[in-house]
């Protein structure tokens, strides 16, 4: 129970910080703003407190300083929030029956998800293999609060523990265990659940701001009902947190918050090595599409990026990474057509296997595309930014499979489903950004209007 209180404290610190020190509180409508602040705040709170604990504990050897600093931030953010609260709020807009139905659907799906998770939490409380062999194992070292914490990146752990992996998730779990003086399995399980809720909240709130309430809620519905997402949350791996940080970074840059977007992109890099690829692709896409936001995004990313670089270059340098181990013979493997075919077919097969029974998470997106129709002219830059990041990551991940020196079949079998899960929220974003918004149809005087508009376009 003590560990859960420290999770709540991190979430509250993050939410209050986002509320009072960013201009997300200017976003409308109000419920989308609340979702964005809650979702981004929870993920930011976990990232921030994880970094503070890592710096104070394993690095500076004064772990007791971490809660003091956190409580100072919490108190300051709480005070600022109280002052801001007295400012007048614009009157809330009336919600349509359709929105209320979609909200009900989202509540049902999240409820169903919780029911599925609770079965897993009861029967498999330690999560799946990587949870106890990598992420939570390293958290147990970090939670020792002494020089033993350095064992979390010791080469003596062996290749299967991947001591070179970044430490956001492990460090956060360790923080809660250290501060509660327990190592309850409820902490990593609850952390995974918070990231699930954050992902849904950020995507729902973000798409609502970008494309209106109907598409926002449907984005949340489509995501929350994704079978592989519901499977991976109780697994307690770092893929759901990574997906959350990547989706949040993309949404934040789309709603013109490049500083926060940079911070979230750096959190992604500090969560998993795939996040480093995301950070590079993300900044490159911003440099092309939103050049004026690049400097701010880099400034946001820099502190956590330096932490990650310091960890990789100085602390974990005795461990070889997947890429460095794959360099010998990489050229030969890249140009091996049989590997290309194997990876390509595995991507296709794994995408099909994202289904459960007759349900595939692409189905609701296809239905929406048919019902609303495409519109990629009005928001071309936003669509290009999202699509560039998605395709860049897809190509990058594809390339990693081509060059890996590990057994290819094993590598694909044990990781590709999670790679697709990381990319899935970005694909949902790309698809929904390409569609016409429901607001355009509501403004039309009759159902014939869209067809008439199309005819006008053709004439032009």
């Amino acid at each position: 129970m003590g560990g859960l209180i420290w999770i709540i404290s991190a979430v509250v610190t993050g939410c209050l910080s986002i509320y009072c020190w960013t201009d997300l509180r200017a976003v409308n409508p109000k419920w989308a703003r609340l979702l964005l602040i809650a979702g981004a705040g929870a993920a930011a709170g976990i990232g921030l407190t994880s970094c503070i604990f890592f710096l104070a504990g394993p690095l500076l050897k004064i772990p007791a300083a971490a809660p003091v600093l956190e409580l100072a931030i919490l108190a300051w953010a709480g005070y600022q929030s109280l002052r801001l609260r007295s400012q007048p709020e614009p009157s809330p807009q009336a919600r349509s029956h359709l929105s209320l139905l979609l909200i009900a659907g989202l509540v049902v799906i999240v409820g169903v998800g919780i029911a599925a998770f609770s079965t897993a939490w009861d029967l498999n409380p330690q999560g799946n293999w990587d949870a106890w062999a990598i992420w939570n194992l390293r958290a147990r070292f970090l939670a020792s609060g002494s020089e033993l914490a350095a064992r979390a990146w010791s080469p003596a752990l062996g290749a299967s523990t991947h001591a070179e992996y970044p430490l956001l998730l492990s460090s956060f779990v360790a923080r809660c265990w250290y501060l509660s003086q327990s190592s309850s399995s409820a902490v990593p399980a609850a952390t995974a659940f918070v990231f699930f809720l954050s992902l849904i909240a950020v995507v729902t709130g973000g798409v609502t701001v970008l494309r209106g309430p109907a598409l926002g809620l449907l984005a949340g519905l489509a995501l929350a009902a994704t079978p592989s997402l519901l499977r991976e949350v109780p697994a307690q791996y770092a893929d759901v947190p990574l997906a959350c940080y990547m989706a949040a970074a993309l949404i934040l840059v789309l709603i013109d918050r490049p500083l926060l977007a940079g911070i979230f992109a750096a959190f992604a890099a500090w969560t998993k090595d795939e996040g480093v690829l995301f950070l590079v692709v993300f900044l490159a896409a911003i440099a092309i599409v939103r050049r004026n936001a690049l400097r701010t995004a880099v400034a946001g990313a820099l502190p956590v990026l330096l932490l990650n670089a310091g960890f990789k270059l100085f602390l974990a340098r005795g461990n070889s990474s997947l890429l460095s181990a794959s360099l010998p013979g990489a050229v030969h493997r890249i140009f091996d057509p049989s590997r290309f075919a194997t990876v390509l077919s595995a991507f296709g097969r794994e995408f099909v296997h994202m289904s459960i029974g007759w349900y595939h998470p692409i189905l609701p997106l296809i239905v929406l595309a048919v019902a609303l129709g495409p519109d990629w002219n009005k928001h071309r830059r936003e669509i290009f930014l999202c699509a560039a990041v998605f395709l860049g990551l897809l190509l990058g991940d594809f390339g990693v499979y081509l060059v890996t020196s590990n057994d290819l079949a094993w590598q694909l079998q044990t990781s590709l489903n999670r790679i697709l899960l990381q990319l899935w929220p970005l694909l949902v974003l790309v698809v929904l950004l390409c569609l016409r918004t429901t607001v355009e149809f509501a403004a039309a005087p009759s159902p014939a209007a869209p067809r008439a508009r199309k005819a006008t376009k053709k004439k032009r």
């Binding site: 139905l101 169903v112 998800g113 106890w132 519901l230 019902a371 869209p450």
Partner: protein
């Protein structure tokens, strides 16, 4: 806000598909979890190895001895589960440290086995868990 029937129908069908998918996932995942409770026996590893945690100091580096075929999936799972339970103690697959964890699947004469490798039996905790000390 009112939408044309085609749009309303499309949005509702998409939403219903999502709800259906969530229920499908729930049914599948719940059944899967019931059929595979704790597949790597991590909770059991905590029960088996708890006495070792009490007997060996936190900062110890420990060696590891087992009767399971090296490099097999079962050996990897047993070793990593033991490492997880015993952390922050560091476990290595060798016999070079003062403390050696014996993690066995079958009963045997552990004292004789240890002696053949210059190890003395410190304690036999049962369930295949044995603590050895390296003989000086």
């Amino acid at each position: 806000m009112r939408y044309p029937a085609r749009i309303t129908a499309g949005l509702l069908i998409a939403a219903l598909l999502c709800v259906w998918g969530a229920f499908q996932s729930y049914a599948f995942e719940s059944e899967y979890q019931r059929q595979n409770p704790d597949p790597f026996q991590i909770s059991a590893a905590f029960r088996r190895l708890d006495p070792v945690r009490a007997a060996v100091p936190d900062r110890a580096d420990m060696g590891y001895l087992t009767d399971v075929e090296p490099g097999s999936g079962m050996e990897t799972a047993m070793f990593l589960a033991a490492q997880y339970v015993l952390a922050p103690r560091l476990l290595e697959r060798n016999l070079e440290h003062a403390w050696i964890l014996g993690n066995f699947t079958r009963p045997a004469d552990f004292a004789a086995l240890g002696k053949s490798k210059s190890l003395s039996l410190e304690r036999d905790f049962g369930a295949g868990v044995v603590l050895f000390r390296r003989e000086k």
